[in-house]
């Protein structure tokens, strides 16, 4: 292998400029794009990025593969929604209460699961998250059980006496999502370039070695978990407020936990932009499958005849098969891009440099 060049400063200017342009464009999009469907997709992508990045702090950097992150998503969204619907507390405060609740849940789960390592940690994280789902299902007085919570109105956001937004359109959710995405990316970047990030990665690489180098394992694992839980709960609160309805199966289910992990695995684990790429790939992909867009496109393009047996099959069945195709996608990614799309890009770039040098 070849050592990395230390000419980083010059190279870094281009991505920074690119990032700034992207951010400006993203802020301007709602001014020019009025398609509610496009905004809807963007909001879903933002939520996916936020929860993926949250998971990445614990799973990607610290190497603790939690498959129970729905617990934090659910803790956040249930707190926010209950406070809003039954206690009329504005979400502006509710989401922070949700984040605090998620951290409390995280510390409880951490105290149980961090005793375990590797696959045992994974299993414990699933089991504990399921406890929360079943509890939410049965604590009917608190959570309204399987019927879920339907928000009947979101009070307008005020600062002082001024109404900032009334949350009637998708635009405020778009901006809320975008801001949290930027914050989570910034936090991840900051963590990666600090003592915290070094300690997280040391724990990921070898816990015993890390321990012998003066790293308090349970302290740093709990810091990673708490940070992770905060962002996952923010994603949850945003989701709950945006959709206006939550129930235990959707916001506390194993499906959600797996989806969070998959977003990061496909994008690239332990990288800042892995979750972003994962979300950009997975959300539109699953949406296209679900809404029969792919079947329709195949028929429209003339590749498959609508009245043929296969065409009818696609039209009727493909949308039901999205979980199956999700799975196939995961297998393909693991086989051909073991470090996710980000790792694949890095590898291509390295190859390109080698060709250039030769």
């Amino acid at each position: 292998m070849r050592p990395l060049t230390n000419n980083m400063r010059g190279i870094a200017a281009i991505p920074v400029l690119l990032g700034l342009v992207t951010v400006i464009v993203l802020f301007l999009i709602p001014k020019f794009v009025h398609s509610t469907y496009a905004l809807h997709m963007m909001i879903l992508i933002f939520i996916s990025i936020i929860m993926g990045s949250g998971w990445n702090l614990l799973g990607g950097y610290t190497g603790q593969y939690s498959v129970g992150h729905a617990a934090y998503f659910g803790a956040g969204t249930y707190t926010t929604m209950i406070l809003l619907q039954y206690h009329h507390l504005a979400p502006w405060y509710g989401v922070w209460a949700g984040a605090i609740m998620a951290v409390i849940v995280a510390l409880v789960i951490g105290s149980i699961c961090f005793r375990l390592r590797g696959p045992y940690f994974v299993l414990a994280s699933i089991a504990v998250a399921e406890i929360f789902r079943v509890s939410a299902l049965n604590l009917k007085n608190l959570t309204n059980g399987a019927e879920g919570i339907l928000i009947t109105e979101v009070p307008p956001l005020r600062i002082g006496g001024m109404v900032i937004t009334d949350f009637m359109s998708k635009v405020p959710f778009y901006y809320a999502g975008l801001v949290i995405v930027l914050v989570v990316i910034l936090v991840t970047w900051r963590v990666q370039n600090s003592k915290l990030g070094y300690y997280f990665q040391a724990i990921r690489e070898d816990q015993d070695a890390a321990h012998s180098l003066g790293i308090n394992l349970s302290l740093y694992k709990n810091i990673a978990l708490s940070l992770s839980a905060i962002f996952t709960s923010l994603a949850g609160s945003l989701y709950g407020l945006y959709v206006g309805f939550i129930d235990p199966g959707t916001v506390l289910g194993l499906d959600l936990s797996v989806q969070i992990v998959m977003t990061v695995i496909i994008g690239g684990i332990g990288t800042i932009f892995g979750p972003v790429i994962g979300a950009l790939v997975l959300v539109p992909f699953s949406e296209a499958l679900r809404s029969n867009m792919i079947a329709q496109a195949l028929i429209d393009s003339g590749l498959v005849r609508e009245d043929s047996g296969f065409g009818v099959f696609l039209k009727e069945q493909l949308s039901h098969a999205h979980v199956l195709i999700y799975g196939i996608l995961l297998v393909v990614v693991i086989m051909y891009m073991p470090d996710g799309v980000m790792g694949f890009i890095k590898k291509l770039a390295a190859k390109g440099r080698k060709v250039e040098a030769a």
Binding site: P3, N6, Y198, A202, D208, G214
Partner: protein, 239 residues
Amino acid sequence: MAILEIKDVSKFFGGLAANLDVTFEIQKGMIMGLIGPNGAGKTTLFNCITGYYPPSRGEIVFDGRRMNGLHPDAVCKLGMARTWQKVRPLAKMTVVDNVMVGALCRTNSLAKAREMAIEQIKVVHLENREAFQAGSLPIGERKKLEVARVLATQPKLLLLDEVMGGLNPAESDEIIQLILDIKKLGITQMVIEHDMKAIMRISDRIVVLNSGEKLAEGSPEEIVSNKAVVHAYLGESNA
């Protein structure tokens, strides 16, 4: 002055005594060799001293402070650091980052840690490997990396668990030189080693363990001429 006192330390796994009433002292600045046949309890003793196992009985006093019950991270912060028999590089991090993790035990600033790391990398002569991934290094360099990493935690006492294991003679010689260089820096060392020639050369004093118990202690010359030690290693003499 004794930097480390081991007083009647025992460690039981069920009914098995991996260490039984082991007692010795290490004086400041010296190199203490710890030898013994396979299964003698050398690594177990290291694990007890550095906080990986709580000793079942007895007391470990480091720099005047009782260490029993402290966790490995606290032990490291107090100035006692160890390497591993089976090297444990942080494989996906670079050499410099590996050593920085050690240095971050003493500072919160990455810049300062990088400075300290580069200094230690020079001590072990890995300058031209700084930007390499630790996992890509050959075994000899991994062992040196391991040493640089613990040196960066600024230990007063260094415990080296078979740093020469699996190395060829030329590499072993480099490590011997390294251990002697570290002694010159004023750092006390305890060294587990199977290579008798090496351990005799570097040690000021040697403790021999056999079946968990201390069999002998003395200068290298005393140890080679000790009948019990020769017996433990080679078995009953037929002559």
